[in-house]
Homo-oligomer: 193 residues x 2
């Protein structure tokens, strides 16, 4: 049997990408979205629950109710054959560049109006934050390289894919820290005021 192409939203593919690795409840999925895919696709549980229901309606995921004594009952969602097939095809479809929206760059664009001292505080604070994020990513990188040393080279392993996504996170944060640093330097060594 051939599997029918079913289109879903980008959020849907984000969820399928996580469920392709392991079956999860909506609650657990919300946690994964926060810690794992959060830096490149973010979603709250109020978006996740309805999206799971839609994916289930399209046959891309299925679920089983797991009854629990201590905790409330939960629905464990699993990706279906059709889900994997659709995710696989979507993964290599051409991606149109999405609009980047970065509020700090927007603030930088109006920085000429601001008090230099306050600008300095803002950018020093942002540099600190992005340094922290970078450090978190680098710790995960070290961990992955130690624990998954062989799998991260195999392009058919989900661990390679996780590692590849993390590499973008590291590159992004490094670039961000450098830019904040550059702005701070400009503000400190400016010729006017």
């Amino acid at each position: 049997m051939t599997i029918r192409r079913v289109s879903t939203t980008t959020l849907g593919y984000a969820i399928l990408g996580v469920l392709a690795r392991e079956p999860l409840s909506g609650y657990e999925l919300a946690g994964r979205m926060k810690e794992r895919v959060g830096f490149f696709w973010h979603a709250r549980h109020s978006q996740i629950y309805p999206e799971l229901a839609r994916l289930e309606g399209k046959g891309l995921v299925s679920y089983q109710v797991v009854e629990q004594q201590v905790r409330p009952d939960k629905k464990i969602y699993e990706i279906t054959e059709a889900g994997i097939e659709n995710l696989k095809e979507w993964a290599t479809e051409p991606a149109e560049p999405r609009a980047v929206r970065d509020e700090l760059v927007l603030k930088a664009y109006s920085l000429w109006l601001a008090e230099p001292g306050e600008s300095l505080s803002l950018f020093r604070e942002q540099e600190r934050r992005h340094k922290e994020q970078l450090q978190r990513y680098e710790e995960i990188e070290t961990w992955m390289e130690r624990e998954w040393s062989s799998e991260i080279r195999k392009i058919s392993s989900p661990r390679f894919a996780s590692y590849a996504a993390l590499q973008r996170g590291i590159g992004y944060e490094r670039g961000y820290v450098d830019w904040c640093r550059w702005v701070v330097d400009q503000l400190e060594n400016s010729t006017d005021e």
Copy 2:
């Protein structure tokens, strides 16, 4: 007289940031949003026209109707004192990190399922696109450094701010190209398949 703090949306501040440099019509503003601030804050004219009306209602911008013979009449919007004051304060207020949403990284996260050949095409194509964008930014950089050589060092000049925003664009695209290149290398030199 003191100027009252009026809150607006991030889009509102994006518009104010452009109008603080020069008065423009809604149509022209849409063009500027596309070419100038587009890479860090994007908006269509269907968002811009209503937002301008709201900003006008809050007294942050004002407009004059300019009658034209050949072209349709237009409304030239100008930032007000209150607009500048509000923009100035917003510019150094702490910025909460907005969720980054990057579809390509999401695709990378599911790349382990895909056909390696198709993955290669996707990432080579993306590398090409980001190289092109980088080149466009670097041309603007060269132009700014030549034409605005002194002003880009003065932190009270709008040209410094434009240059600073551009620097982030350059850093972003450089990092993106490097990452695409790295993914392509991984796919070409993989040990499996």
